[in-house]
C-alpha cells in the first residue's frame, strides 16, 4: 500500500459521525448562550427589542397627543379672560366650564352706595347679559338714573388676580372704560382685588349700568374714588398733648431720587379757616374734612391741648404726621381755626 492508497482508505468521512454531530450541536448551543449573556445582538433577538422600542415610541406619541389635546382644552376653557378683550364686556353666555367658586360670608368690603340709590335687592341687574352662577352673591341697587350690580366672587372670566399677585397691605382696582351698548345704554365694570381671601374669592365685581355714557361715568368715577365704606372711624385715639406736631414735607423734597426730584412737588400746604361753629370739636372737624376730599377722611388722633383747643392729626406711620387740623372754641361754638398738611 503506497501513501496515496493509505490516505484514501483513512481519509475523514465527508459525513460526520453521530458523535461528532452531537458534539458540534452542543458546542453551538453553548456559543449561542454565551453570546446572549454577553449582550451581543444575536439576530434572532432583534425582534423583541424592536418591539420594545416601538412600544416606547407609541407611548411617547400617545402622551404628546394627550398633552396637546389637554392644552387645547385648557386654552378653550380659559377663553373669555380679559387678555385682549374688554374687561367690562359681557360674556357671550353665562355658562362656564370653570367650577363655580363659593365664597362664604359677606364680601370683603361694604360698597359705598351713592345717595339716591335704593337699599338693594338680591339678584342681577336687569341690564346684565351674563347670568350669575348659583354660588355668586349678587346684589343690585337702583336709582332713577343708574343701576349698580355687585358680584362676589366675580365672574370666572373676570379674575385678574390670585393671592400670589396681591400684596397684603392694600386693595387693587381695575376699571374698564365706559362701553356704549347697541341699544344706546352704557355700562362700566370695576374689579377690586382683595388680599387674604380664599382662592377664587379675591375679586369683587361692580358693574354700573345707565341710560347714557355720561351717567355711567359719573356714578362709576365716584365708586373708583371711594368704593367702600371705611372700617376705620373718624377718630381712633384721644390723648392730652402739649403742642401740635409738625407735618412732614412731601417725600419728594426729602429723597435723592432723580425721578422724584425731576417732578414738581409741594412740600407742605396750610391754611386759616373761617368756618361755621359747631357744638363740639369733632363735629367741626368732620364738617371741615367733608370739604377737603384730598385729606384722609378717617383714622385721626385727637390731641387735647393745654389751652383748651383740640388738634386732629393723621399719621401714615408712627411719627409721620401728614395732616393736622386745629379746632378752637369760640363764643358761638367749636370751629376749625387752621390746618396744615404734607404737599403730596
Amino acid at each position: 500500500m503506497d501513501e496515496l492508497e493509505w490516505l484514501k482508505e483513512n481519509s475523514p468521512s465527508t459525513r460526520p459521525s453521530r458523535d461528532v454531530t452531537r458534539r458540534h450541536r452542543t458546542q453551538l448551543r453553548a456559543a449561542i448562550a454565551a453570546e446572549g449573556a454577553d449582550g451581543g445582538p444575536p439576530r434572532r433577538r432583534r425582534r423583541p427589542q424592536a418591539r420594545a422600542r416601538h412600544r416606547v415610541l407609541v407611548t411617547t406619541a400617545v402622551v404628546v397627543v394627550l398633552c396637546v389635546i389637554g392644552g387645547v382644552v385648557v386654552a378653550l376653557t380659559s377663553e373669555g379672560g380679559d387678555d385682549g378683550s374688554r374687561i367690562g364686556a359681557p360674556a357671550a353666555s353665562g355658562a362656564t366650564t370653570t367650577a363655580p367658586t363659593e365664597c362664604s360670608g359677606p364680601p370683603p368690603a361694604q360698597l359705598a352706595i351713592p345717595s339716591g340709590f335704593n337699599t338693594g335687592r338680591a339678584g342681577p341687574a336687569a341690564q346684565s347679559r351674563t347670568a350669575p352662577t348659583s354660588t355668586q352673591q349678587v346684589t343690585t341697587w337702583t336709582s332713577d338714573r343708574a343701576t349698580i350690580e355687585q358680584r362676589w366672587p366675580s365672574d370666572a372670566n373676570r379674575r385678574p388676580w390670585d393671592q400670589s399677585s396681591l400684596a397684603p397691605d392694600g386693595v387693587s382696582g381695575i376699571a374698564d372704560d365706559v362701553t356704549v351698548d347697541a341699544n344706546g345704554g352704557a355700562h362700566r365694570t370695576l374689579l377690586f382685588g382683595f388680599p387674604n381671601q380664599p382662592n377664587g374669592c379675591e375679586t369683587l365685581q361692580i358693574t354700573v349700568y345707565g341710560a347714557d355714557a355720561a351717567t355711567v361715568r359719573s356714578v362709576s368715577d365716584g365708586l373708583v374714588s371711594s368704593p367702600f365704606v371705611s372700617p376705620e372711624p373718624l377718630v381712633t385715639t384721644s390723648r392730652a398733648a402739649t403742642a401740635i406736631p409738625e407735618v412732614v414735607a412731601c417725600e419728594a423734597n426729602a429723597t435723592a431720587s432723580v425721578t422724584v426730584d425731576a417732578t414738581t412737588a409741594t412740600a407742605t400746604v396750610d391754611g386759616t379757616v373761617t368756618a361755621a361753629a359747631f357744638a363740639g370739636p369733632t363735629e367741626a372737624f368732620a364738617s371741615f374734612l367733608a370739604g377737603e376730599p384730598q385729606l384722609f377722611q378717617h383714622g385721626y388722633d385727637e390731641l387735647r391741648l393745654a389751652e383748651g383747643s383740640v388738634a386732629y392729626v393723621k399719621q401714615v406711620r408712627p411719627g409721620a404726621v401728614v395732616t393736622a387740623v386745629h379746632v378752637t372754641a369760640g363764643a358761638t361754638g367749636w370751629s376749625v381755626h387752621d390746618w396744615g398738611a404734607s404737599g403730596c
Binding site: R45, Q49, A52, T60, V64, C67, G71, A75, S78, G81, D82, D83, G84, S85, R86, I87, N157, R159, P160, W161, S165, L166, P168, D169, G170, V171, S172, G173, I174, A175, D176, D177, G193, V224, S225, P227, F228, V229, P231, C250, E251, A252, S257, V260, T263, T264, A265, T266, V269, Q294, L295, H298, V316, A320, V322, T323, A341, S342, G343, C344
Partner: protein, 146 residues
Amino acid sequence: MLTRRVHRVAMATLAVGMLTIGSSALMTASSAPRAGATCGGVANPVTITHYNAYNTLVAEEVAGYLGTTCNGDYRYTGVVLDPVTDGSCAYANYVEPFAYSATQGVSCTTGAWSAYDYIDSIGSNSVLVSVRPSYLSDNWTTSSGY
C-alpha cells in the same frame, strides 16, 4: 439584557414625564387669565387704582391721550394721580421681567395728574405695571396692546 431594557423604559418614561410637565406648564402659563391694566389690549384703555388697607384711594393711573395710545404702536402715554395727602408721591412702576424695571411716572402734588411715557423696545407689546405710594407694596398687573 433585562437590566438595559428596564433602563431604557425608565429613561423613556422620564423623558415623557418631563415633556408632559413642561407642556402642561406652558399651556397653563399661556392660557392663564391676565389682568388688564393701563391698556387691556389694543383700543382698550383702563384705569388702575391702589387703595390702602382702609379702602382709601392712594394712587391712580389712567391711559392718556385716548386715540394715540393703546393703539399697538409700543408707545404708551399715561397719567398718574396722587389723590390723597399721605406724604408720599404716587408712582407708576414698570417691569419687563428679567429685562427692565423702572419708575416711569410720578405725581408729587396731591390732586395733580402727571403725564409720562413708556416706549417699549423690549420683546412683546406687554409689560407689568403697578401704581402705588412709597409705603405700600406693588400689585402688578399686565398692560398690553399699548
